[in-house]
Symmetry: C2
Subunit: 127 residues, 2 copies
């Protein structure tokens, strides 16, 4: 694998946010830095970052894939209305039980997402 400014930029952009962005948002941000970067390049590099273990795809059942540069095992929250994704802090007992289960069933990892209408969407619904 050779160095490329595009790949570095994709990684920088992904690390710059905790918003679990989609590929096209990352593409937009990269364009601000490398105006003629191609969308396919962004997809290619995201794929490689995931393969290298430097990023993960967050499966939240939305239309678009979401990416995260935080590859540690952690829990997500997601709004089923607007699709927003955030990191969710969970209790120590839950974390311990997850870790234990993972070891017990020899899993490579897990994905845990709690679904909850976010404050913004709840406010809109009540209007």
């Amino acid at each position: 694998m050779n160095y490329s400014r595009q790949r570095e930029t994709v990684y920088d952009v992904l690390r710059s946010t905790k918003d679990h962005p989609s590929a096209d948002w990352i593409y937009g941000e990269c364009k601000k830095i490398i105006p003629n970067i191609g969308l396919a390049t962004v997809y290619r590099n995201l794929e490689q970052l995931v393969a290298q273990g430097k990023a993960i795809k967050v499966p939240v059942g939305q239309d678009k894939d979401r990416f995260d540069a935080d590859v540690s095992l952690h829990v997500h929250g997601a709004c089923p209305v607007c699709g927003k994704v955030w990191d969710e802090e969970v209790s120590a007992p839950l974390n311990d039980a997850l870790k234990a289960e993972c070891e017990k069933n020899h899993s490579d990892g897990y994905s845990l997402t709690f679904f909850r209408v976010c404050g913004e969407c709840k406010a809109k619904q009540e209007q």
Copy 2:
């Protein structure tokens, strides 16, 4: 919401399996019962069943959406190689911790999937 044979068939097919099938597999099965059923009808009815709370979409980060007629909160396993999805039995402490967390953060539900290469794919890899 009116009755329709197509919707009943989609629901019957979905309930008949524990394989967490994709829309096109369900379409294939429905065709055996109603040969001229349309793919859009299957998608439409799956969407309605989900909206009614009679089915869930299982987010496993695969290309295709997976559906499940078991709407109780339960844990999934998924093979990152072939995409197979199964129900995973977990320890009582984990179940309790999940339920507690859900109540604590007022979530509508959660999705927990453990990733693990399935026996079949592991056997192939070792050849």
